[in-house]
């Protein structure tokens, strides 16, 4: 979070240290999050494997990798967060990392007032608190400005009313960060960030049946729910925008990891699988489609890297590049998923084979935090607003 970096830190190439960091995460995933374990989590009630989660937080110290050391984090940046997410995505790890370490942590860093931030962030970073961020409501958009959940100040503290949904891991979170607004405020005004503890009076959390069983969602209903104000009152908007854009870059990185895993598996299969006396990967139609897929995955990768790099360059403009990264990642991951199932043939459609785990992650991630079409729209409208503003 160095505000005065003249040169971007990544410059499209990773340092040897970053490469080692990546390798260590990949090693951890291979050892501690093999598919067999993920399948157990899929079959479990909550989808939460506390041992794995503790391993990620304590052993590897991954929760808070992007958080400054002064705030209890590891003091790396958004580029390193992108590396973590890419590797978790590649292994399709089932853990509340996106919820707690990305969305909630980014929200606290960017939108919380110093007091609450310094109280809560260290607990997210060491994994003692599992947090999530509740933004989207019934209309299924993650733009904080669409918030309708209302916050009332009472004699005995803040109370929230309204419903959030698509809340990642909301059913297992110790702490739900809720975006709410002052009654009567609209659009960019009056937004604050609150914390609601699991089991707080007035809070009802219901786990939702998710298409991707490795990424659980919950519905969070607040009926006068007791809440703590984390941000300056009514001033959380800009910080939340930044946090969402940083999280888009991280999610895009995760998706690129997943797309790459599918591409790798499909290429391997195409080299090994024989039909008509030849590896199917020697058939030109297959080769061409895999080449096209590679191009799309590499495009998405470049955009995700660029977005993480930009996210690390506080306060550089992030909104547009975050949208490019998410849109390209959504399309590339879905294409990879469709091609992987198709080119594996029948076996790729079986439950036993791992392809469908990635397919479902792709389907789910492609709309999480906004679909490709939504981000394309957001991108062009943002460009247009900017160029219109540039003109006299």
């Amino acid at each position: 979070m160095n505000a005065a970096v003249a040169n971007p830190p990544l410059q499209f190439a990773f340092t040897a240290e970053q490469q080692q960091f990546r390798d260590s995460i990949a090693r951890f995933c291979r050892t501690h999050a093999p598919t067999a374990r993920t399948r157990q989590q899929m079959a479990s009630d909550t989808g939460l494997d506390r041992e794995l989660w503790n391993g990620l937080c304590s052993d590897l110290g991954l929760s808070g990798v992007q958080v400054p050391e002064s705030l209890g984090g590891q003091g790396f940046g958004q580029v390193e967060l992108g590396i973590v997410m890419e590797e978790l995505g590649r292994a399709n790890v089932c853990a509340p990392y996106l919820a707690s370490s990305v969305l909630a942590a980014n929200a606290l860093v960017n939108a919380a007032a110093p007091g609450p931030r310094d109280e809560w962030l260290p607990q997210l970073c060491d994994g003692t608190q599992l947090a999530t961020l509740a933004v989207a409501e019934a209309d299924g958009h993650w733009d904080p400005h669409r918030t309708t959940v209302a916050a009332r100040k009472t004699d005995r503290g803040w109370r929230l009313d309204g419903v959030k949904t698509y809340v990642l891991d909301g059913h297992v979170a110790d702490l739900i960060l809720v975006v709410a607004r002052a009654p009567g405020s609209h659009d960019h005004e009056g937004l604050s960030l609150f914390a609601v503890r699991a089991g707080a009076p007035g809070l009802q959390v219901r786990a939702l049946n998710s298409l991707d069983p490795t990424r659980r969602l919950a519905r969070v209903e607040c009926t006068g729910a007791e809440a703590l104000l984390l941000s300056e009152e009514g001033a959380a908007g800009p910080g939340l925008d930044r946090a969402m854009d940083e999280s888009l870059a991280a999610l895009a990185s995760e998706m690129v990891g997943g797309a790459q895993a599918l591409l790798d598996a499909t290429v391997s299969y195409a080299k090994m699988r024989i039909q008509f006396g030849r590896p199917i990967g020697s058939f030109q139609a297959i080769k061409h489609r895999l080449a096209d897929l590679l191009l799309d995955v590499e495009f998405a990768r470049s955009a995700a890297y660029r977005a993480c790099e930009r996210a690390a360059e506080d306060p550089s403009p992030l909104r547009e590049v975050a949208s490019v990264a998410k849109a390209l990642a959504s399309d590339a991951f879905m294409l990879a998923a469709r091609e992987a199932v198709q080119l594996h043939g029948g076996i790729g459609f079986t439950w036993e084979h791992d392809t469908h785990l990635y397919f479902k992650r792709a389907q789910s991630s492609s709309v999480l935090l906004g679909s490709a079409a939504e981000h394309r729209d957001r991108y062009v409208l943002s460009l247009a607003a900017r160029t219109a503003g540039d003109r006299p």
Partner: protein
């Protein structure tokens, strides 16, 4: 006797039905009568349970049956394929022995063609049948076998000669399924259903009466089976229109129907459920989004075009014209449609596309569509195979240089056989 006419057929069937049909009969009992009379399969030869009628006159007979609600012979599942194959290639003994209980529904059948190592390349079968005095011993593994778990017989493609090119070393058998050496394991799909099975065959026995067609000409026999697959797909579409009356026979039919349909209950979702698109777009208000409208329109337009293309193919057939390009496109068209429909459903659903089951849009139907559609372009011949067929047979483009059809199969490069 003068040749049958529409009127004579109509009269004869009516008279026979008046004498024989009753909804209170047992299903098998009724079908036995039907088969005996020849009215169960009126287009089949007279010596083989039919009456040798032209397709048009057979349709007249079926009309009359439908008119009184009379139940037909068993036609579901792979039965149609098996019957057509036995009729064309079976011995008299096989027809006599196997067809009646197939038609009454007392025996059920499955198809043992695909293997883990030979999917698109169906002739690459490596299941081995070794001949001896009493018949054959079979070892190998089959997959994607619908209804194998309760089938009495399987039609089996196995290799009997490894020293000739791949299409020439295959033989076609009837395998009794209820024996040691045949183990059926369900195979779960990514959408959670388990509609198919793996069949592990270890030293299973087939008697000398189990060979269909000449030894080593199994591929030719299998082509007859495959040629009827499209008819099976058509007859599946008709199932939805089954009219059930009241009476004991309908209860039994319902049970038969439910058992046969079990593996197919997600097939409508696999096809994309375009029927839901417009209504959902309107109900959710997403129709106000111009980008959603584009996606919905794409899917619906493909659907219309596919319907009209199929109608053109039928019209060409009906008018006796040679089949044009439009007849070979249906399978690929269905894949395109399913993909476009899934895309439109996702587009309408937005974030709700992440939810399944009770929490998901349309009580989970949308989620089921999204995770079922990918099967459409794989099952029954992948899109890639369809494109090859279209390019070669319709457009007349040259085949690729072949690397495996002119050498003994034992020298052909193939998959290391998988074992569990």
């Amino acid at each position: 006797m003068s040749p049958p006419t529409e009127a004579s057929v109509r009269d004869e069937v009516r008279a026979w039905l008046a004498q024989n049909w009753s909804p209170e009969l047992g299903l098998a009992e009724w079908r036995r009568r039907l088969i005996e009379s020849g009215w169960g399969c009126p287009s089949w030869p007279e010596q083989w349970f039919g009456r040798g009628l032209s397709p048009a006159l057979a349709a007249v007979a079926e009309d009359e049956m439908r008119a009184v609600g009379a139940v037909s012979v068993a036609q579901f599942g792979v039965r149609l394929l098996v019957a057509a194959t036995l009729l064309e290639h079976g011995t008299d003994d096989q027809k006599r022995r196997l067809l009646p209980r197939l038609l009454t529904g007392e025996d059920t059948w499955c198809q043992l063609f695909s293997e883990p190592g030979s999917g698109s390349d169906l002739a690459g079968v490596t299941t081995r049948a070794t001949e001896d005095a009493e018949g054959w011993t079979v070892t190998g593994q089959k997959v994607w076998t619908t209804s194998a778990q309760h089938a009495h017989y399987g039609i089996l493609l196995a290799r009997t000669d490894w020293n000739v090119p791949k299409h020439r070393g295959l033989s076609f058998f009837v395998l009794p399924m209820h024996q040691d050496g045949v183990e059926v394991r369900p195979l779960r799909q990514m959408n959670g259903y388990a509609s198919f099975n793996e069949v592990f065959i270890s030293d299973a026995r087939i008697g000398r009466d189990g060979l269909v067609g000449p030894l080593g000409e199994g591929w030719k026999v299998a082509l007859t089976t495959l040629a009827h697959e499209r008819r099976m797909a058509d007859s599946m579409r008709n199932w939805g229109r089954l009219q059930l009356g009241e009476g004991r026979i309908y209860e039994e039919l319902k049970a038969e129907y439910a058992a046969v349909m079990e593996p197919y209950k997600w097939y409508a979702q696999r096809a994309g459920r375009t029927d839901l698109l417009l209504e959902r777009a309107q109900r959710t208000g997403r129709i106000d989004d111009a980008v959603v409208r584009q996606d919905v329109a794409r899917a619906l337009m493909i659907e219309r075009a596919a319907e009209w293309t199929a109608a053109r193919a039928r019209a060409a057939r009906a008018s006796g014209q040679p089949p044009g390009a439009e007849g070979s496109l249906g399978k690929l068209a269905a894949s395109n449609l399913a993909r476009a429909a899934a895309r439109a459903h996702a587009s309408i659903s937005g974030a709700a596309a992440m939810l399944a089951g009770e929490d998901g849009p349309e009580q989970g139907l949308i989620a089921e569509i999204l995770v079922s559609v990918p099967a459409c372009s794989i099952a029954g011949g992948t899109d890639e195979i369809q494109r090859n067929i279209i390019a070669e047979r319709v457009l007349g483009l040259p085949r690729e240089p072949s690397t495996d059809t002119d050498i003994p199969f034992r020298d052909v490069r193939r998959n290391v056989s998988s074992s569990r």
